[in-house]
Structure formats: C-alpha cells, structure tokens
Amino acid sequence: MKKYLLTLFLILVLTPAAWAAGAQYVMRVDGLACPYCAYGVEKKFKAIEGVKKLDVDLDKGIVTVDVEDGVEFTDEQMKKLFEDSGFTFRSMTRKDLE
C-alpha cells in the first residue's frame, strides 16, 4: 500500500502540470507606437484576476502577459480588450511557465 501511495505521490509531483507556475501569453498587437498610449492595455490586464506580470515591447508590437495557473485567455476576449484600449489584436501563443 505504501508503495502505491509513494508511486502516486511521485507521479503527481513530477508531472509538468503539477510544477507549472502558470502560463505566459505572447500577443501580437498592431497600433502600439507610444508608451503613454499603451498604458490603457496595462490597466485592462491588471484588472484581470490572476495576471502576474505584463511587458510591452513597442518596437516589436508584442505584449507579454504572465498569468497564474488556471487563467485562460481566448482570442475573442483579447480582441475586445485591445479594441477597448484603442489597438488591434492579431494573434497570441501560450506556453506553460515552469
């Protein structure tokens, strides 16, 4: 019995999902030209529970958002968020953070 419990424990602990410290979304956004104007994007993301970190690369038009485990973004949600901020959402990729 102890052997089974130990095996189960090791499986849970060593599974990548169990180690995941959330996820990182990398979004391509058009229209970002100045930091002052992009502040609205930051405000919108910070109002979402579970958003840990945000970075805006103006030169590349990339917004990177780190979120806690369990927080999921959809394309529709991001289209609306960026439209409300005055920009155009193009695409995003997601990866688990370790």
Partner: protein, 270 residues
Amino acid sequence: MKRIVISMLASLLLVEVAAAHDPVFGLGPHTLFKDGYEISPQLHSAKRGNAVQNELGLELVYGLTGNWSAGVEIPLSLVADAGAASGGLGDISVFTKWRFWRNDMPGAQESAALLFKLIGDTGDDTRSPALGTGTTDGIVGLAWGYESRRWYRWASLRYRQNGTDANGLQRGDMMRLDLVGGIRLKQTGYLEPDMVWLLELNGEYGRRARLNGVEVANSGGTQWFVSPGIFWTYRNFAIKAGVQIPIYDDLNGNQQASDYRALMVFEWHN
C-alpha cells in the same frame, strides 16, 4: 472697440481638447481607452498688444469606448488690458471626440476623428475686461494623424461658429488649419520616460465681427503661427508645452496681431 478685442482674445485662448498624444495647439485624433479617465490642469497665456490673458484650465475626459471620449473644460481666467484686470471663471465647455477610422499597423497607427465642442457663456462678460464671450459657441473639427515609433504627422481643420451676445455683438466665425510634424529622437522602452519633439504650423482665418448686423471694420483676418513644442511622458503622466510664434498676419482694418500664445498641459490618465 476694446470690448470686441478682449472678447475675441478670450475666444482665441481656449484650446480645443488637448487630449492624449496629440499636438499642443492643433487637433489630433486620439481618444482615451474605455472607462479610462484623464485629468489635465493647463496653463494658457496669450498677449495681443496691451491685452494679456492668463488662464488656468482643468480638463476632465472619460473614455466611453476605445474610440469615443467625452469631457469638460473648466477655465479660470485672469485678463488684463491697459491697467484694468478681471479674474474668475471663464467659459466652461463640453466636448466629445469620435475616432471613426483607425488603421493599426505594427508599431504604427493612422486614424481620423471628429470633434464636437460646445462652449457655454459661464464667464462674466459684464466685467471689464470680460472673462467670457457672453455667447454660446460651437466647434466642429476633423483630425487625421499618423504616428509611428519615430515619426508623427497630423492635420486638422476646425470651424468655430460664434453666437451673438446681449449687446448684439457677433464675433466672426473662425476657421483653423493645423499641420504638425513630430519626431521621437530616441525610441525608449515601455517603462522609460519618452519625449517627442513637435513643430506645428497653425493657420487661423476669422470672419469680420458684426455689431447689430453691421460689420465691424477692425475685426477678422488671417494669422499664421509656427509653434515648437514637446510631449514628454512617463508611464501614465504627461507634460505638453508649446509656444505659438506669429509669422504672418493679414488682419482687417486697424488691429494688433498676436504677440504670442503659450500653453502648458499636465496630463494624467488612469
């Protein structure tokens, strides 16, 4: 005559919505993000001959959508003319700006907007010098802008229709044309202070004023200004400043042209 000059000076000083990352004197197409609010204390100063007007304005803007904002401007004026001075509340105005077209590109944005502004007659026009125009005026404006990480370009056209005051004076309607260029010499990162240098060409054409239906000979005409300015920002705080330097005037009759106009805006949005 002096009353007409002061009345016209008061109407010239007010800036039509100095919102966001737009020109200092011209009109730009920027609006505020949805549910955002902006607070902008502003210092205006203008001199024409012996008439000097200083104004402390407070502009409040709210973002109704990502492309539509509305706000109010509350000016406190101090007007001096040949030894006499008045101070107090000027003409309060309400405005709305709608960005009806936007073309977003990687690191750049091109857009166009319409502006509507209504200027009330809250300033006391019975004081000498008058603090307001004594009329309700309207402004409609069209603005286009292109901004990238390095270059900025704007063009705008505004038309101001002036009402008639209790004494039968109607200041002439005014047309404004603004052409503006800007450059960001150093492309800074998102969390760093940012500076854009601006150079504006501001043209104004005013029709003759009418007093009880009769044209006032010494009123109206054309003026052009060159206006260097800056736009400095850090995070959600901005300082805009500029000076309008007259370079050409063709004013009707015997009128003194503007000596200068200056504007400094502190802007904070959240």
